[in-house]
């Protein structure tokens, strides 16, 4: 017996969850299927910038305007998940050998950034400024000597994993059915059209059919394969993007650097760490089997060190990657590809009702979802219902609690309260209520990331956690510099208690959690991080000895 919906959304990234929320808010019956967890692909592994896409201002001015406006909306609906990040774009002095051409380029940059300023009010950004050399070294003393000044650029970032989770939770709160670790395996076809999806729960093996006249394929880098399996085509140029996490803040502001091949990369402080990104290379391998390579790590470190030399002595704690789903175009280099998005219709291939999502940007996800939902209404032949995703807050986004006041209750220290407020917004109070009820949950599992035992319990109860590794994305379990030495076991105990896991399941979940971390560290094991790896293996080795 199949369940019946108006639309089945495949993919729990920002597009899929965004569409599910919009459809649910507009009254459609929605099923969202995600074959692993929210945001595991391009969404969560992006740099998290909800910037206006200044890179695309010349080629895709529409992308810039759309991104800026929508960045402003995201700030309205999820004010807690945000961090402001001013960037510096330093330029070399003439004496140091900048050519006329380079100087012309920098002049053009200033004009360019000045033009971008016109969009800044859309996203509460401050206008750009020009810094003299003296001002530049005063704000960013770690820069290499010999720079003549910089242009500043105001941007915003977001916890993209949690953005996906919150969209999914809100969709569910408005009637959608949301299933993680459930793969939409096969499209059900009727005469020239799609009629639903056959799915399988990858944890329990349960299978089922969901009937719906519209299926939205928002599976990102997985969509070409999904389409191929069902006799359709989704052309795209998947681009692999690698980021590095460094152990501490190596700069005060974001710094735009030039990599060895002239592409722009950045170094930016994020919480207690720094992030270096991003590579951009065509990738036609298996999206489930994605790891950073040694040369990608070196490419990023070399580029960042060209402006902040101390980065060479940084401890790299993770190298993480995702696949962008850029629109197919034959010819351009990867970084010159458009970040526009497309909604491909399956009608021509005998799959009317199938809509595939290609391309797009994190910053514009909400607008993209709105467009897709409009399309879904058209396909359903329903009268339009206005979109409200830009004005209704996401869960926890209704109010921004003051961390100092959260900490004033004495239940948690101020840094932990700040992290709680950042990750949970107004719902941080519900987390603290758990500590009031059970003081044991006041235990801080990770002093690095400020993970509270109560936060683990809260996420497990209210945020659709089905596997221990889901907590990496909900509240950063085992992603800090210690890779889980401190937090993994107790987090597993707490999750296991909530979810009724037995000892063997807990050990299997821990092993799976450690596997996910290992894949992010294989290419960066060096210095202190290598000692940390030895420590982690020693601490967790007895878990897995077969004898």
């Amino acid at each position: 017996m199949a369940d019946v919906y108006d639309v089945v959304v495949l993919g729990g990234g920002v597009n899929g969850t965004g569409v599910a929320r919009d459809c649910a808010l507009r009254g459609l019956r929605v099923l969202l299927l995600e074959k692993s967890d929210f945001g595991v692909g391009a969404s969560g592994n992006s740099s998290g910038m909800i910037h206006g896409g200044i890179r695309y201002m010349l080629s895709d001015r529409k992308v810039t305007a759309l991104a800026c406006r929508d960045s402003g909306y995201i700030q309205r609906i999820a004010p807690h998940l945000l961090f402001r990040i001013p960037f510096l774009m330093p330029f070399a002095s003439r004496r140091e050998g900048a050519t006329l051409r380079e100087r012309a380029a920098w002049y053009a940059t200033e004009v360019y950034v000045g033009t971008y300023d016109l969009y800044q009010p859309l996203k509460r950004g401050k206008p750009s400024t020009r810094l003299t050399a003296e001002e530049l070294y005063a704000v960013e003393p770690g820069l290499r000597p010999g720079l003549a000044g910089a242009v500043t650029l105001d941007e915003w970032g977001i916890d993209a994993f949690r953005l996906c989770v919150l969209n999914a939770l809100d969709a569910e709160a408005h009637g959608a059915e949301v299933r993680t670790w459930t793969e939409g395996r096969e499209l059900l076809r009727g005469a020239g059209r799609v009629e639903g999806v056959r799915w399988r729960d990858v944890l329990t093996g349960e299978e089922g059919e969901a009937r719906a006249p519209v299926v939205l394929n928002a599976t990102g880098a997985w969509s070409p394969a999904l389409a191929r399996r069902n006799g359709a085509r989704v052309p795209m140029r998947p681009g692999k993007g690698v980021h590095l996490t460094l152990d501490r803040r190596w700069s005060n502001y974001g710094v735009i650097c030039s990599a060895v091949d002239g592409r722009q990369i950045f170094l930016m402080p994020h919480e207690a760490e720094s992030i270096v990104g991003t590579t951009d290379d065509d990738f036609y391998g298996d999206p489930d089997d994605l790891e950073a390579t040694s040369d990608e790590v070196e490419y990023l470190l070399e580029g960042a060190a060209s402006l902040v030399p101390a980065v060479r002595s940084a401890r790299v704690t993770r190298a993480w990657c995702g696949l962008r789903t850029t629109i197919f175009d034959y010819g351009p280099n990867e970084d010159a590809l458009s970040r526009e998005h497309q909604l491909l219709d399956g009608a021509a291939e005998g799959l009317a009702g199938l809509v595939s999502f290609v391309g797009g940007k994190l910053a514009s996800y909400r607008a993209q979802a709105e467009e897709a939902t409009d399309r879904i209404f058209a396909l359903l032949g329903r009268p339009p219902v206005p979109c409200r995703t830009h004005e209704l807050p996401l869960p926890g986004g209704d109010e921004l609690p003051d961390p100092a006041r959260l900490a004033a209750g004495g239940l948690v220290a101020a840094p932990v309260a700040a992290r709680l407020a950042y990750r949970h917004g107004s719902r941080a109070r519900e987390v603290l209520r758990l500590v009031e009820e059970d003081p044991r949950l006041g235990m801080v599992l990770c002093r690095d990331e400020g993970i509270l035992a109560a936060e683990v319990v809260f996420c497990v109860r209210h945020e659709k956690v089905r596997r221990l590794q889901d907590l990496r994305r909900r509240c950063r379990v085992a992603v800090g510099a210690c890779a889980g030495v401190d937090c993994a076991r107790v987090a597993a105990q707490l999750a296991g208690r909530e979810l009724g896991w037995d000892s063997e399941r807990i050990r299997a979940e821990l092993a799976d959690l450690l596997d996910a971390g290992w894949r992010e560290r294989r290419a960066i094991l060096d210095g202190a991080q290598l000692a940390q790896e030895e420590l982690l293996r020693g601490a967790t080795g007895p878990l897995e000895v077969p004898w």
Partner: protein, 429 residues
């Protein structure tokens, strides 16, 4: 700073390998100086010394493996020619383990070449050739009947129900019948106390006794033994386990620990106490850019001269091997050329990290087992396979070709190679 400190043997490294080497040379009558930087990986010990895995045992059926540790070590050596057990041979392993247990009797239980099955924090069982005194009563095959697994009420760090639930699956294999109970936290400790705080509090007079009384009150009728979190005292001399047991009226044991490890710190304290009692000169510091044995070398505030050196500086945690783009041995700049699953060779040290690891985390990882290559007398070899110096020996995790934490040998390699290096150094003087 004083003048030149002269010794027969200089040991670099104060973990298990260095301490056993120093004590072995000391027992042979040599004057020994030991330079050490920090507790190192030995202080992270779970409480058990695995010694050797039973390679023939069924996966997931630990209690079915009955091969004695020494025989298992010999089989491991036969199967893995690059493993330190194979390089030096396991003929004297029993002697080395007995020596370690005797020297460290404050912490370690006597060695009897019998595999004990000890509970982890996850409720799984691990076979160990050697263990701390605090673990003995928790040997799952020695408890007949009811085993109480006691957690602290109001503390989330140890989940007694998880441990008891996990151990339940071994009942059919001859294990005891586990049952979770709760006892009150030691006085003055709150829900957020860390393991070493709990352990330190239990060392205090009266505290272990109070816990024993509370345990006695909580024990189910017919309980034959009690298993507690691995926090039963930091000071091996305080004998917290015995004191708890005396009041509880049943044998008491700890589970094995993860990191940070109270049993590891307890073991390290036992090492330090024994080194001092045996008359080993312990110097705080490390050898940096050291010349060759026989020449004076600076270590911390001291200048030390000894004709024979033993390098027992550990691997990455201990600092004996480091990687900054390239694998290196920082103290003497010896060649790093041994790694499990990779042929020896100079190129090993310069390979990218990813090429020295396997995608499957649970497989042996050459990078994590990188270290020195040695001959049968534990003399480090140069790139052409010749001993670097006749008076230089190496022991413990600085040796490559094994990953002690995951290959099922634990501190067994440290004890065997430390013992043999100590004896060789005593002879070679």
């Amino acid at each position: 700073m004083s003048g030149l400190l002269e010794a027969d043997v200089l040991v670099a490294g104060g973990g298990m390998a260095g301490a056993i080497a120093a004590l072995a040379a000391r027992r042979a009558g040599r004057a020994v100086a030991l330079v050490r930087r920090s507790p190192g990986a030995t202080a992270l010990s779970s409480g058990a010394v695995s010694v050797a895995p039973d390679l023939g045992a069924l996966a997931g059926e630990p209690l079915a493996s009955r091969r004695p540790p020494l025989e298992a070590a010999a089989r491991l050596a036969a199967a893995r020619p690059d493993h330190p057990y194979a390089v030096v041979g396991t003929a004297r392993l029993g002697e080395a383990l007995a020596f370690a247990c005797e020297e460290l009797a404050a912490a370690l239980a006597p060695f009897d070449d019998r595999r004990r099955f000890l509970a982890t924090l996850y409720g799984s069982a691990v076979g160990a050739g050697l263990c701390q005194r605090a673990n003995v009563a928790g040997d799952l095959l020695s408890v007949r009947g009811l085993l109480a697994v006691a957690g602290f009420a109001g503390h989330a760090g140890f989940d007694a129900r998880l441990v008891a639930g996990g151990l339940g699956r071994y009942v059919a294999r001859g294990g005891p019948e586990p049952r979770a109970v709760e006892v009150a936290l030691p006085a003055g400790l709150g829900a957020l106390a860390r393991p070493h705080e709990l352990a330190g509090a239990l060392d205090a007079p009266g505290a272990a006794e109070a816990l024993g009384d509370a345990l006695r009150a909580a024990l189910p009728a017919g309980a034959r033994a009690a298993l507690l979190p691995p926090v039963l005292g930091l000071d091996p001399g305080a004998r917290a386990v015995e004191r708890v047991a005396a009041r509880a009226g049943v044998p008491v044991a700890e589970t094995l620990s993860d990191v940070p490890s109270v049993p590891g710190l307890r073991l390290w304290r036992a090492l330090e106490a024994r080194l001092a009692a045996a008359g080993v000169r312990v110097v705080q510091g490390e050898l940096a850019a050291a010349p060759a044995p026989g020449e004076p070398v600076r270590a911390g505030d001291a200048m030390i001269q000894a004709p024979v050196w033993i390098l027992a500086t550990g691997r990455f945690v201990g600092g004996g091997i480091a990687r900054r783009g390239v694998l290196a041995e920082p103290a003497l700049r010896l060649a790093v050329q041994a790694a499990e699953g990779r042929e020896a060779g100079v190129h090993l040290a310069v390979r990218p990290a990813a090429s020295l690891t396997s995608r499957d985390r649970r497989r042996p990882q050459p990078l994590l087992s990188a270290g020195l290559r040695v001959d049968h007398a534990l003399r480090p070899l140069d790139e052409r396979g010749r001993p670097v110096h006749p008076g230089l020996h190496a022991a413990g995790a600085v040796l490559g070709g094994h990953e002690q934490a995951t290959d099922g040998t634990g501190l067994g390699v440290a004890i065997l190679t430390g013992y043999l290096a100590g004896l060789a150094a005593a002879e070679g003087r």
